[in-house]
């Protein structure tokens, strides 16, 4: 399994039946393809869809129906379409159960930075501030280190924050880590790695739950 496949196949287990879930641009939108076709979930897409589903067959693909990342989604039975004010009313009123979101940096306090790398790459805020601040549960999907091998899971974020103390869980290509009052706790390891080696690739201090599942 590739690093991305490890993240996505673990992330899909976070989605509980009957929930309303937003999947952010990047890794999270791909989680949908790991869901069984009959799974009871409503996928919210902030461009105005509740009940988005996997890409339609080529003949049914609709250029006027995309998710927030631009993919040509289909609609499930019972879906609804609405304007951006209604879409974000749903978010700010905390009607979403779970948001999975990408990160430039995430830290031991559950702070999230994912909208601005000053002078380099500033994609912008999009829906991230409202999703991060108001969704009941935020799970970050990220590679454990950046493309230069530097840790993305930090003691304290250095980039401008998207939201403070919003992250409940981090799923990387190496581990599942919870943000707790006692700092970061490793719940599962997704690769064959020693605690020492995992810590070496993480700037924040890790605690290892006794009996954490390993590969």
């Amino acid at each position: 399994m590739s690093a991305v496949e490890r993240i996505l196949s673990r992330a899909v287990k976070e989605i509980t039946p009957g929930s309303i879930v937003n999947l952010g641009i990047g890794l999270p939108t791909q989680v949908m393809h790991y869901l069984p076709d009959d799974f009871d979930v409503q996928i919210h897409s902030e461009n105005g869809i509740l009940g988005a589903w996997k890409q339609a067959a080529p003949a049914e693909m609709d250029p006027f129906l995309i998710d927030a990342a631009g993919a040509y989604v289909s609609l499930r039975e019972g879906a609804s379409l609405f304007d951006s004010a209604v879409s974000f009313a749903m978010i700010r009123r905390a009607r979403l159960d779970l948001t999975m979101i990408g990160a430039f940096e995430v830290d031991a306090q559950g702070n999230l930075a994912n909208w601005k790398i000053p002078g380099k790459f500033s994609p912008g805020i999009g829906g991230a501030m409202e999703l991060a601040q108001k969704t009941k549960r935020i799970v970050v999907l990220t590679t454990h280190t950046d493309k230069h091998g530097r840790p993305k899971i930090l003691k304290t974020c250095r980039l401008p924050l998207t939201a403070r103390a919003c992250v409940s869980r981090i799923i990387s290509d190496m581990a599942v880590i919870d943000v707790t009052d006692r700092g970061l706790v490793v719940r599962e390891k997704l690769v064959d790695i020693t605690n020492e080696d995992l810590q070496a690739q993480t700037e924040a201090e890790l605690t290892f739950a006794t009996g954490e599942a390993s590969v």
Partner: protein, 231 residues
């Protein structure tokens, strides 16, 4: 009164320096034909308000690439590296808002009010001290309404009174912007006589619309973007 206009006449109403809202989230709802005519006519020093900058060579991105845009008020330009690079070089001013806050600022202007109170981004770098208001023991951020001189809107269907119906995920900012601009220009590939819609199906009532431009057909801009198709 018929609100039908030609593409050329409708866009000629926009002067250089205007503040222009543009509907659309990615491709759906982007009024490509109105934008392409604005590129052809060449008005400059525009301030544009749109969720995103479309992608290189398409829609709003063409206005930026053509040097017609002074400022972009937006939420996310992550799919347009050219605009990010231009912003980093100082070639365009970009103002980012949280997406739902931008929508609500536009909705607020469109309903004739002046602002609202929120806690979104209140402790982030997008909030200045002077934006904070303490009221009865709680601190809020004041967000002012956002209006514009013009709105450019794509509707799936319209009648010549300006009643509009949107399609799919192309609703997004369009009904909000159609209420928030002084002069609203709509393009549609399907323009018909009043009476074609059940009244309760109308998304934007014609009272908000000034010009309706019928499109002969939809160009390839409106089609499937192959690089977004999952193989």
């Amino acid at each position: 009164m018929k609100k039908n206009r030609t593409l050329e006449d409708a866009i000629a109403a926009i002067p250089s320096g205007a503040v222009v809202m543009v509907g659309g989230f990615g491709n759906p709802g982007t009024p490509f034909s109105l934008i392409n005519e604005l590129v052809r006519q060449g008005q400059t020093e525009l301030t544009l308000i749109k969720n995103d900058a479309n992608e290189a060579g398409h829609g709003l991105s063409r206005l930026v690439e053509n040097g017609q845009v002074r400022k972009l008020i937006t939420t996310h330009i992550g799919l347009n590296k050219g605009v990010i690079d231009l912003m980093n070089l100082g070639g365009i001013e970009v103002e980012f808002h949280p997406q739902g806050i931008l929508a609500e600022k536009i909705r607020t202007a469109g309903s004739g009010s002046f602002g609202f109170l929120t806690d979104i981004g209140i402790d982030s770098e997008i909030t200045r001290q002077e934006d904070l208001l303490n009221w009865q023991g709680t601190t809020y951020k004041v967000e002012m309404a956002l209006s514009a001189d013009f709105a450019l809107i794509h509707a799936a269907q319209a009648d010549w009174l300006g009643n509009l119906v949107y399609q799919g995920s192309a609703i997004n900012f369009s009904p909000l912007m159609a209420m928030a601009a002084k002069h609203v220009i709509v393009e549609t590939p399907d323009l018909g006589a009043p009476g074609r819609f059940k009244p309760e199906q109308v998304h934007t009532p014609g009272a908000f619309v000034d010009s309706v431009v019928p499109l002969e057909s939809l160009t390839s801009d409106y089609g499937i973007l192959e690089h977004h198709v999952r193989r």
